[in-house]
Symmetry: D3
Subunit: 154 residues, 6 copies
């Protein structure tokens, strides 16, 4: 498995997009496929609905990965889907600097991920998993947790 | 199999919509299911993409049929899909009067279906299958066949 | 055209959902159809992608309206789309109380719509059109306008 | 929370479909909303993409529930989404008899859910969660687990 | 902002496709983002529904632009969406020659855009905005305006 | 028309993806366009729903073809759709070895396509058209035909 991309602002020329059209796989397998691809180092995996020949509703699987992870992705696609092939092409990924700050709420501190370009903060996203844990633990709407964080943002 | 709906303008209170969520069926079977449902009297059958639990891309099958055809639809859904149940509710269908006229083109006459309400012609649709036959037979773009019909419409 | 629904919390039993499947209309007409339906009193209009027979990508038009507006909707659907019919069924709509408050930002006051049930405020939504006007006028990201409002919410 | 529907073949007239259009909610909240609705007794919850006014990609939330669970659903929709209302209508649900059998594989026994109508077995579905556990535990493709079950089906 | 592409038939090797996956942005912001990207020189902007991890309905933003407009696009994506990065790859665009003719109708002349390849006219599209203006001004169905133009096409 | 790709495992660097956005074409034409593109040598053709400017539901046509077939594809896109241009980029296609075996069922032998990588069989897919023929001829559910094949797979 590949290292995560670095946190500083950078342009990454070593990435691929891999695509597979699927019309003969039960949808319930695809949740599992997504899990496996992420675990093996994909930086993103997503599905979109497509219309294929012979009136078939199909699914387009797209994944982004480092070129170093190509073999791991190939192995999973062959083993876990029903495809006889796939296609890919190089992409360039532009990533902002990522910084993590803590914001206090009445339920405890919550991490906020910042997206920074040339020193300026463009994005501030409360970490979903932490917010969800608090929502589940305290029986409070997730929306309220986000709102509490938003009010504290610098 | 049910009779086709009548050609005069009318409101039909004897119709149902049946719906099934499918997340464990290969997409390639669904083209066949659509064929069978139409053959058994469904007045329309269509699929839409849905997002289901556990990250599953699924398909929502919807069909419209007369209440008289309920049993035939049920039989196909149980036999040909993977579902353990389905849901339905009554709908009212408003249909325009349908009339068929002929329009001459250099490749021969083509049927145009008219939709009429209170004596006024609202829609004029060249019959797709006839246009496609001509396109295939004469090696002409389908678009050109439609354009030729449009120019002749009253 | 129908009156807007009242602002107090209520259950409305006088509503319909109308649906039309469209496979022979250019997409560019559908933006116009949406405008007309809203203007004629529809409380919502939306499209979803569907897969229809003969490998046709189609569009499902759905609209919500008061029963009093049925004739106006019918007129537009017949005149402006290519359909030969449509279907409908009664729905019950549950609406929260709506109240409007003002929140101050450095660009001026912005209206926030509150959704209230049994006296409790559940939703607080900055009015999109006002935020967009400010974003356009001051050349500031829309996101910043929303964030400024969120910080001031009670 | 409602009891699960019974296992015998039956028609259930006490069900509702509830629908909400959402155009102002971050997608990441919606996974949480789905979890909560299922936990509170919804028999199904699913999303579909819709096109709304002002060029907004939106999400249509649909859920199926017993009329007894209406209040629990309402509470979650108000608290956890951004909506100011929702709509609903009664549906009839037709459910096959459900029976559970065990099938042996080299990784142990796996439950198969059968769907039965008038005594005839129409569906046989290996339980996804059990197959996935085996796939994860033994490092074997999920597809292989299903294939092993399929071969043993009566 | 970039110049519009030239009107003669040509192949353009100086174009990019930029893509962003969005799962934490309210849909209502995305109409505004589309406006801004077009204004800044994008030659096309469109959204498609995607299924992302953790049961999230997401949106894939795709835009086409000249390499010269890359910085302007980047600025908008960082400022107006919630993303921490985006990806891109070079594309080649093949454009037909565009010519504009006028067609007379009883409501006045309407522009028709022609698409021409090697001197042959392949496409003839009435200008949507002009047709819509007439439809709004004269209270006539948009469909009728198009039909009137189609009949006059050479 | 191009030769079909060879049956042995290989990487194909001579492929293109061509894309067209369509917002002014009736959906019913698109089934015909798909047929023509396949007949002219496209290795895949599929549609996905997109949201375009001015509230237009549109369709993204994607096709995969050998570089040798570029001119044939271009000819069809110009003649049969309403587009004024299209875009394309090179892709690499990875294809497994394909082998065909026969499996016996009570309705006769059915071909199964195997996908093989480095000598290992990863996929085994009953040929849809043969299964469908049997289902139609013997009046048996397509599902039953597949299940019968699955049980016989090596």
């Amino acid at each position: 498995m590949d290292m995560h991309p670095p946190n500083n602002e950078h342009t990454d020329d070593e990435m691929l997009k891999i695509e597979v059209n699927l019309d003969d796989i039960p949808g319930e397998w695809l949740g599992h496929v997504m899990d496996l691809l992420f675990r093996a180092g994909a930086t993103d995996v997503f599905y979109s609905p497509i219309y294929m020949k012979k009136n078939r509703p199909g699914v387009l699987l797209q994944l982004l990965c480092s070129k170093n992870d190509f073999d791991a992705m190939k192995e999973i696609l062959l083993s876990e889907t029903t495809t006889l092939g796939f296609r890919y092409y190089p992409i360039t990924v532009q990533r902002m600097e990522r910084r993590f700050i803590k914001v206090n709420t009445k339920w405890g501190a919550i991490t906020v991920k910042q997206g920074i370009s040339k020193g300026e903060v463009f994005q501030q996203s409360p970490e979903y998993d932490e917010c969800k844990s608090i929502a589940d633990k305290y029986g409070v709407p997730l929306k309220k947790v986000y709102e509490a964080v938003w009010k504290q943002l610098p």
